[in-house]
């Protein structure tokens, strides 16, 4: 029994440190985004024409930024909750409620996002689909769709970690 708990702790720790590390790394994308914005503004004034890569690079960086940050945000409980009711519950019923909520409000969403996201990304890779927005540069769109799936997957894993924690707390009355 004890060994299972040890393994579980190890598993949770791995997920948490992954969320932490990916999020912290992704958080610097905001500086890249800033650089792209500043550079393309300067170039626009210097050459009287916005650089062709400005548009696509901007949304792709912003997209990678928040998609890869999702798990970090969940890890640090950053996703806003309206918890003035649930915070009055004692710890154990609260964990039970949380377990139920993960089953109803979390897993269906991320199952669909990951499952269909994979098809969606594979399609773009196979057909060599390119960005539909710009007219000249048009980068391939497969990579960012892959990032989308990875982001959702990491967030789902972080959700699994919390689910297991609360399940443990709900059944044993304390956090692992």
């Amino acid at each position: 029994m004890g060994e299972v708990v040890v393994r579980m702790r190890h598993f949770l720790k791995t997920i948490e440190s992954t969320s932490e590390w990916v999020g912290k790394s992704a958080s610097w994308i905001v500086l890249a985004l800033m650089g792209v914005m500043v550079l393309s503004t300067v170039l626009r004034y210097a050459f009287n024409k916005a650089p062709v890569w400005g548009y696509d690079l901007t949304w792709m960086l912003y997209a990678a930024y928040f998609l890869l940050g999702g798990a970090y945000c969940l890890l640090h409980e950053g996703h806003v909750r309206v918890d003035f009711l649930s915070e009055r519950l004692p710890p154990r019923p609260r964990s039970i409620l949380e377990v139920v909520c993960y089953v109803i409000f979390f897993f269906p969403l991320f199952y669909v996002l990951v499952r269909y996201g994979i098809d969606y990304a594979v399609y773009s890779w196979v057909t060599g689909e390119r960005s539909p927005f710009a007219h000249i540069w048009a980068p391939p769109i497969g990579p960012i769709k892959t990032v989308m799936v990875i982001g959702f997957l990491l967030l789902a894993l972080q959700g699994v970690a919390y689910f297991i924690k609360h399940l443990f707390a709900a059944t044993r009355g304390k956090l692992p």
């Binding site: 309206v82 269909y116 969606y120």
Partner: protein
């Protein structure tokens, strides 16, 4: 399943989901997925919708403005500016409370981040006011209310989120929010001053011996040093949008760089601050974007099943007339504001209700701003009042929860008054956008 039934179930789902205290983003997103499944809509559309949020170019503003705010907060410029205005206005009755509102208005750029100004002012201004014997509800109320101004006064995340939903340009919404934001600030300050002049014990002026004795010249120079750089940054960002020199995303990028430079000027640029700003920015931007994603999945399914038509038939069938429906919407938003935070209200309500009002001939720009102005009340309406939560979280000695609740009541009234003024005199909203450089 009939559209009517789905409409009811989806709304009930939101209320149950929100009441459980589970993250709002996942609750609404899941409801979108579950009801798509129930209504037999192809689930591959969910990915397409998610990708639609991912590719919304204008949303790139959000992390940049949030970063600008986080960095400005780290630069400590609000504290410095508070010190200056404290010296300049401390002699007035209620001067410290008015100063608080002024600082919140000036630094609205930093406060596009939810709660940042309530926290900053709660730590800097509130203790100063309490020490001088200010009335507790008045002191805490002006911090809470002042803090909410930031969410409206541009650059404002709320307006960036609203604009693409209603098909209005972000730049025009920014400019439209300018006067209403100032109007609210003026109302707050006027209220504080009038009350303190009638009853000086509420907000006594600093006794002359406590006013710092600095030569006037030095006082002015020190003040300029603390006020000019952040003011310049904020005005440069807004000005470039107003004159069409830069698109909002470009202005956001340059503003973020400006905030880093600002931190450097005040000697606060180091790896620690950069890291802290960066991580906070990630958490806030991600939180907002995931609600946007969830809301998009929710409203996508909702409208696809035909629930939009159900709601519109129901609302139009009430026989209230355009203004009656408008009033109903505002009341509904106010009611929701007690329980849900503004991001959720904005992103779920706007795509469902605004087409009805646009169809009745309301100007989308004006309507959007009236909604955003009234949404400010959601920060102050209990039981779920953000501003009060943040202030409560600071655990300031001698301040009870009752003081906090009592404090926000008059300011809620002023917000309602401000909203009413913008409805009666739509020019308050539309005047500046009408002067703007036409969008390309």
């Amino acid at each position: 399943m009939s559209p009517e039934l789905v409409t009811i179930l989806m709304f009930v789902g939101i209320f149950i989901g929100v009441a459980t205290g589970f993250p709002l983003a996942f609750v609404i997103g899941s409801l979108g997925v579950i009801f798509a499944f129930v209504a037999d809509i192809s689930l591959s559309i969910i990915s397409i919708r998610a990708f639609g949020v991912v590719t919304t170019y204008i949303f790139a503003c959000i992390p940049l403005f949030v970063f600008m705010g986080c960095m400005m907060e780290r630069s400590g410029c609000a504290e410095l500016a508070y010190g200056t205005l404290h010296r300049w206005m401390g002699g007035l009755k209620g001067g410290l409370a008015s100063t608080t509102v002024l600082i919140c208005t000036l630094f609205a750029a930093t406060t596009g981040i939810i709660g940042a100004s309530v926290t900053t002012m709660g730590l800097v201004a509130l203790p100063a006011m309490l020490k001088r014997g200010y009335d507790k509800p008045l002191a805490s109320g002006c911090v809470c209310a002042g803090g909410t101004l930031g969410i409206l006064i541009p650059p404002s995340i709320m307006l960036v989120l609203y604009a693409p939903q209603a098909g209005v340009s972000v730049a025009r919404m920014f400019m439209g929010a300018f006067l209403p934001g100032l109007l609210l600030a003026v109302l707050f300050i006027a209220y504080i001053s009038v009350r303190c002049y009638i009853n000086p014990s509420l907000g006594p002026s600093l006794p002359p011996e406590e006013r710092p004795k600095i030569p006037r010249r030095q006082n002015l120079i020190m003040g300029a040093k603390s006020l000019f750089p952040p003011l310049f940054l904020i005005l440069a960002v807004l000005g470039s949008i107003f004159f069409g020199v830069a698109a909002p995303t470009e202005a956001a990028g340059v503003g973020a760089l400006g905030a880093i430079i600002l931190a450097a000027i005040y000697g606060k640029l180091n790896l620690g601050n950069l890291k802290a700003a960066s991580y906070t920015c990630l958490r806030i931007s991600t939180m907002i974007m995931f609600i946007a994603l969830g809301a998009n999945l929710f409203t996508g399914t909702f409208l696809r099943v035909g629930c939009g038509k159900v709601v519109s038939n129901f609302v139009l069938g009430l026989g209230l007339g355009p203004w009656g429906i408008f009033a109903l919407l505002l009341f509904f938003i106010f009611l929701l504001g007690m329980f849900i935070d503004w991001v959720g209200i904005l992103l779920v309500m706007v795509p469902i209700f605004c087409p009805i009002l646009h169809g009745l001939g309301f100007d989308p720009l004006w309507l959007g701003l009236v909604i955003c102005i009234s949404l400010q009340m959601s920060f102050l309406t209990p039981p779920f009042a953000y501003s009060i939560f943040y202030l409560k979280g600071l655990k300031i000695e001698g301040l009870t929860l009752t003081d906090l609740y009592k404090g926000v009541v008059p300011f809620l009234g002023l917000q309602a008054l401000g909203t009413a003024l913008c409805i009666i005199f739509p020019q308050i909203v539309t005047f500046i956008p009408s002067l703007m450089y036409a969008p390309r």
